[in-house]
């Protein structure tokens, strides 16, 4: 009797596991496409026909996987483009490293999450048209609003790996600069009091410290430090996508341009607590060195 019962429990557990694994293997949430819909562009090539698979990097307010209910500026932009192109959207959680590998390996179509367009990165992936300007935020508890003021204050400072300004910050701060795997760890250490200043994306810091007493978040480009090229000429962010997928790139470029023109991106930025000035990208895409 007991053996029979154990076998039953075992079989049920195995079945439950199989179902769970199957569901997981299918990826994240998907929004369905409309069969009667007419796309703005025809013949868009995606990893899965009829579906746009998007890697979501957690960097609120730009994009957040949010336990399967993605939110953020980038998510809204991509969702609108997918809707206009009659594509279902499937969101998958990603990090910078695996998103790029997944694009190269044709597992996802593009990635979202405030990714700067640089010449070095363009050797590996293509980029959509620029969405917004990436501005560094200077976050301190001492009221400093510029890099020079932080430099004078002494103490350790932190930023996130992969940011364009790292090389210049390293020259200024040397061993005082600590780089973190993500904004989460950077914030944790700033909150712990190890850091005098945190140099993160302005949008990220402004969201994290909104309404927090004693913490100042200044826009790095407001009084740009001439020693940091990313402040004198801030990088522009785009969606990285599979190299040479011209049909998808065209759809993304046109979708982004249209959302710039009708003010959607500006509204999304202000809605996220940022300035719509970040949406003022150059007419010819600026590719950071």
């Amino acid at each position: 009797m007991n053996t029979h019962r154990l076998k039953t429990i075992g079989a049920l557990s195995a079945a439950a596991m199989t179902v769970a694994v199957s569901i997981t293997a299918c990826g994240g949430p998907t929004s369905a496409s409309n069969a009667s819909c007419t796309p703005k562009h025809s013949g868009i090539q995606t990893v899965t026909p009829g579906k746009l698979t998007v890697g979501v990097i957690d960097i609120p307010p730009y994009s957040s996987y949010n336990s399967g209910n993605p939110t953020g500026v980038d998510i809204s932009i991509v969702s609108k483009i997918a809707k206009d192109e009659c594509l279902a959207v499937s969101f998958e959680q990603a990090s910078y490293a695996d998103a790029i590998q997944s694009i190269g390996g044709n597992s996802i179509d593009l990635a979202v999450g405030s990714i700067a367009v640089t010449a070095t990165r363009e050797k590996v992936v293509d980029f959509s048209a620029s969405i917004y300007v990436e501005s560094m935020g200077v976050t301190t508890r001492i009221g400093a609003t510029t890099v020079a003021e932080v430099e004078k204050a002494g103490g350790k400072v932190g930023t996130v790996e992969g940011y364009n300004e790292i090389a210049d910050l390293k020259k200024i701060f040397g061993d005082r600069l600590i780089t973190y795997p993500s904004s989460v760890e950077l914030k944790a250490d700033f909150d712990n009091g190890r850091l005098v200043a945190s140099f993160d994306a302005y949008g990220v810091s402004a969201t994290e410290y909104k309404g927090v007493d004693g913490v100042t978040v200044a826009l790095g480009t407001a009084k740009p430090d001439p020693r940091i090229s990313a402040l004198t000429r801030p990088p522009e962010d785009g969606f990285p996508l599979t190299k040479d997928n011209t049909s998808l790139k065209q759809a993304l470029d046109d979708g982004i341009t249209s959302q710039h023109q009708d003010g959607t991106i500006g509204k999304l930025l202000t809605g996220a607590g940022l300035t719509d000035a970040l949406g003022n990208v150059s007419k010819t895409q600026y590719v950071s060195p």
Binding site: Y96, G158, G162, T179, E185, N192, P240
Partner: protein, 218 residues
């Protein structure tokens, strides 16, 4: 540019990271193993408090993933006013991890010593201390050596977790380079080769020692 040309450009930064990885692994082993010996003994102590504390240290050290321990030491403890440098936090966390595993390997080594030798020591009137220091420990440690050498290799590999707490070790160097150019595959392949350059010879040395010891026991 070919991978080899790129690797040549990445290598100097990688080697700086590798040096840090080796340093942390060295500290973990040099401090962790003696601590493991102490824990291996006190886990069997007749004193309840000593036994309970040692058991808690060993079980938490073995049960909690090293990454969790590192996060607690580096990001968690400052909430209680204890703030360590990243490298110190990595060393402390991995020393704990190494000590916990080493204690079990050593305890197993001590228990592998034939019980007849313990009885013979008693019959000869040797004290408990002399029995342990002169009879049990030399033989127990000897049989624990292959396991301890394997653990040292694991500790070296485990240093890659210190990347999460900003330690400028090999994995962090690779991640920094990958973040700049998006060439994650070739960057992490080089990091893998750097790790292998240490772990493979270390594994061969472990196998060599195991064979030598088997011959000695034969």
């Amino acid at each position: 540019m070919s991978w080899f040309t790129d690797w040549a450009a990445y290598l100097p930064q990688m080697l700086v990271g590798l040096r840090m990885s080796l340093y942390i692994a060295f500290v973990s082993v040099v401090l962790g193993y003696p601590l493991g010996l102490v824990l291996g003994l006190t886990v069997n102590s007749k004193n309840f408090a000593a036994r309970a504390i040692s058991l808690a240290i060993v079980e938490i050290g073995r049960g909690a993933p090293a990454l969790v321990i590192l996060y607690i030491f580096y990001y968690g403890l400052p909430k209680f006013g204890i703030s360590m440098e990243a490298v110190t936090a990595a060393c402390v966390g991995l020393v704990w991890n190494a000590a916990a595993y080493a204690s079990e390997i050593m305890r197993a080594g001590f228990q592998s010593v034939d019980r007849g030798q313990l009885e013979a020591s008693n019959a000869l009137g040797l004290s408990r201390r002399d029995t342990f220091v002169r009879i049990i420990m030399p033989q127990g440690i000897r049989s624990a050596i292959p396991g301890l050498m394997g653990l040292a290799i694991q500790m070296f590999q485990g240093t890659s977790l210190a990347f999460a707490i900003t330690v400028p070790e090999l994995m962090k160097a690779a991640d920094e380079i990958g973040g700049r150019n998006f060439n994650y595959l070739e960057t992490f392949m080089l990091a893998g080769l750097c790790y292998a350059a240490i772990t493979l010879p270390a594994t061969w040395i472990t196998v060599f020692f195991e064979k030598r010891m088997k011959r000695a026991y034969a």
